[in-house]
């Protein structure tokens, strides 16, 4: 079954690459993401939104969070043109999507040794 | 190729033709033209019909060829020299060592 939120193959690869560091990677990503979300919340500047979205997109894609990466890409590309309402809407969607994937990564963290 | 070599069917006569400038740039080719032969030819012809220029290192190469072919016992003819080339050979008095025409 294909997960529309997280690419499981990516997770398999990461697990293999990171070995003992896998858990740390997950924790770092989650902490990193919290601070990105905070930054997105705190600003209305189009430029700042675009920059944060760019970075967030990068790490999301590395972690296999495909839908989260796509939403960030949307925000990065359209921050200059869209109305504040639309942007606020996008930021909200990113929040929502992160909530979705967060549980996946938390779950990975717990089961890291059982795989 | 600016140095063309031809050996007669009986292997007795070697003809070396020089095209363009006969100067130090031809050194390697010129030496190889006679050193690579298995059998020493009895006579050698250096054809300068298409040689446009000849400098003192070319004279040196002719001396090397003469030495290789037996020095005073060598039979080397230098043919088809242009008037400029002939002048250079005349100043050097190389007609005392080579049959020049």
């Amino acid at each position: 079954m294909t997960d529309p939120h997280v690419d499981r193959d990516v997770l398999d690869t990461l697990r293999e690459v990171m070995e003992d560091g896998y858990q740390e990677l997950l924790e770092t990503f989650l902490a990193d993401s919290e601070s990105r979300l905070h930054e997105l919340q705190a600003t209305t500047s189009a430029k700042a939104l675009s920059d944060v979205a760019h970075s967030f997109k990068g790490s999301a894609s590395n972690m296999g969070a495909v839908r989260l990466a796509a939403l960030c890409q949307d925000l990065e590309s359209n921050a200059k043109d869209k109305s504040p309402e639309t942007l606020a809407q996008l930021v909200a969607e990113i929040h929502g999507e992160f909530a979705n994937v967060r549980s996946v990564y938390e779950d990975e963290k717990l089961h890291v040794h059982t795989h | 190729m600016s140095v063309v070599t031809e050996v007669s069917p009986d292997g007795q006569k070697l003809t070396i033709s020089i095209k363009g400038r006969f100067d130090f740039g031809r050194h390697q080719e010129f030496r190889e033209s006679y050193e690579r032969l298995n059998k020493k030819p009895q006579s050698i012809v250096v054809d300068l019909k298409e040689a446009t220029y000849l400098d003192s290192s070319a004279l040196g190469m002719l001396l090397l060829l003469r030495d290789h072919a037996g020095g005073d016992d060598s039979d080397i003819r230098v043919v088809n020299s242009s008037s400029d080339v002939k002048k250079i050979l005349a100043i050097s008095n190389f007609d005392k060592l080579f049959d020049i025409s």
Partner: protein
């Protein structure tokens, strides 16, 4: 796959998760990892730890990747430190910015291990290639410096060799482009003990250091033998033999040698492979060519070598002009040679003889636009003052043992007279007598005159009155050569007697020959210091020596020299 040497890789990435992931991948590939979380940190780490390769995120706080890349490239200087931009940038404008900032490649997110490894490997190859190129360039530069220095040293040595003679004499004018000697051109001049002048203009095959190598032994022979009183023929034989011995087969030296004699009002010429020289007769304006009659030096064996010279009469102020092939072989843009005809046009147009060199140089410039760097020209005049320009003594004091009471007799017979010049040998013997050294010039001149009189007028029976005009002059030397070559009988005897006298001593020289003799009384009636071409020898002997006398119908000449011991 070839094992890759571990590199030190700097990862500059602000996202902690990406940084951790990338570090792990790179480390797993066997490299050492340094990390930075912004551009400023990256520059700082680069300066301190000199990583081999940089993986650089474009968007970072504090200092972005573009600026950091620029600074790192500047710090790296000529060495190639590849920078791979980590980016999910897709717009071509942004990618172009990465390249402008000095980026060498891109890596898109999400990271792919295989691609990353391949890129690191490719960049490492590039980095090594650049390092090799730099290393080789530095090596070449070092060798080049080394070579230039060697050339500088060699040039200084050769310049000294070439200028230790009498090139500064008032009768000589010469022009050599600064690197002419280094292109194989050699100009030498020295006085003989009799005050004649020997001049040599030589041109070695080829260019550069090898061409100049032969100059040293040649100069040594030239100066040594000229100082000892050897003539052109002996000097040429020795030079030829020496070059034949030491030079490779394809190297030789074209040369013109001159012996200018004010006493005999003549110039003796040997030209082997040099362009025509010219004897410029000032009275008529005529320029007599002095063509190459011989192969260059260093080609023929001693047996085959031809030392025959040509002798031409010269009037006071007449000039001999020699030049190297750099002049007539100068090419224009279409490979046309300047040539002898153009040179002769310059001669014809020349109004001030003292500006001939300048006129020739100007003509070369007009012809070609720039002068070649192997142009040599020399002009020697027969000056009145040359007579008083005696040579400095070539013989330093060699010790207290000095023979003071002795006599010796020599008889030189036909076969010896053909080839051997006994004068240097006799002079050397006489200069063992310290008191005679200050008179070595006069002594040699007198010996030379008496010997050549005995040989030419006595043994060979040549009539000196032949030499009264230029044509006869040439005829005289032709006959001399022919008769000498076929000489079988005859002799020249030289008796030397040294005796102490008071505080000094006395030398008596007596020279006898097997010839027919001459009318002594008639010759003695002539006034001293005549400037005719013939008969100058006898008046010279009477001026330089004391009690000069002839007996046995002119077949025996005697002259004395005295000296005082200086307190």
């Amino acid at each position: 796959m070839q094992a890759q040497e571990p590199l030190t890789v700097l990862i500059a990435e602000d996202s902690a998760a990406d940084r951790l992931l990338l570090s792990t991948i790179v480390r797993r590939q066997g490299h050492e990892v340094l990390t930075a979380s912004n551009g400023a940190e990256a520059v700082d780490t680069f300066e301190r730890q000199h990583p081999d390769l940089v993986l650089m995120d474009a968007m970072m706080p504090v200092m972005d990747g573009f600026e950091a890349a620029r600074q790192i490239k500047a710090l790296a200087g000529e060495a190639l430190v590849p920078i791979i931009f980590l980016t999910s940038l897709t717009e071509s404008e942004a990618l172009a910015r990465c390249l402008e900032a000095g980026g060498d490649d891109f890596l898109a997110k999400p990271y792919n291990q295989v691609i990353l490894a391949a890129k690191i490997k490719a960049m490492d190859r590039l980095r090594r290639l650049q390092a090799t190129v730099l290393q080789q360039r530095d090596l070449i530069a070092k060798h080049h410096d080394y070579l230039l220095n060697e050339q500088r040293v060699a040039k200084a040595v050769f310049d000294k060799v070439a200028h230790s003679g009498c090139l500064s004499a008032p009768s000589i004018r010469y022009l050599q482009s600064p690197y002419a000697l280094f292109n194989g051109d050699l100009l030498l001049a020295a006085y003989t003990p009799a005050g004649d002048m020997h001049v040599m203009l030589g041109d070695f095959t080829g260019h550069g250091l090898p061409a100049a190598v032969g100059a040293m032994p040649l100069a040594e022979v030239f100066y040594g033998m000229t100082a000892k009183g050897y003539g052109l023929a002996e000097t040429l034989r020795e030079m030829n033999a020496k070059l034949k011995r030491i030079l490779p087969v394809d190297m030789f030296c074209c040369a013109t040698l001159l012996c200018l004699s004010f006493q005999r009002r003549s110039v003796e010429v040997w030209n082997g492979g040099m362009p025509d020289g010219y004897l410029h007769r000032m009275a008529s304006g005529e320029r007599v060519p002095l063509p190459a009659r011989h192969l260059p030096l260093g080609i023929l064996s001693a047996q085959a070598f031809d030392d025959r010279t040509d002798v031409y009469p010269m009037a006071v102020d007449d000039r001999v002009f020699l030049l190297s092939d750099g002049v007539i072989d100068t090419c224009d843009a279409n490979d046309q040679l300047f040539g002898v005809e153009r040179l002769q046009q310059v001669f014809a147009a020349n109004r001030e003889p003292d500006r001939l060199f300048e006129d020739i140089e100007q003509a070369l410039r007009d012809f070609r636009g720039q002068a070649r760097d192997d142009v040599s020209m020399v002009e020697v005049s027969l000056l009145e003052s040359a007579q008083t320009q005696g040579p400095a003594s070539a013989y330093p004091e060699s010790g207290p043992s000095c023979p003071l009471d002795w006599s010796a007799s020599f008889e030189f017979r036909g076969a010896t007279l053909r080839r051997f010049n006994p004068l240097p040998f006799l002079l050397q013997l006489l200069l063992e007598v310290h008191g005679l050294r200050s008179q070595s010039g006069a002594l040699y001149s007198v010996l030379a005159e008496l010997y050549s009189n005995a040989l030419e007028h006595g043994v060979l029976g040549l009539d000196s009155s032949l030499k009264r005009d230029a044509a006869g002059f040439a005829r005289y030397y032709e006959l001399r050569g022919a008769r000498l070559a076929s000489l079988q009988d005859g002799f020249v005897r030289v008796h030397l007697q040294v005796q102490p006298q008071g505080e000094g001593g006395c030398l008596v020289i007596r020279v006898e020959d097997s010839g027919k003799g001459f009318d002594v009384a008639r010759i003695m009636e002539r006034p001293l210091d005549t400037v005719r071409l013939s008969g100058r020898g006898i008046s010279l002997v009477r001026q330089l020596g004391r009690n000069a006398s002839w007996s046995d119908q002119g077949r025996s000449a005697s002259v004395e020299f005295f000296w005082e011991i200086e307190a």
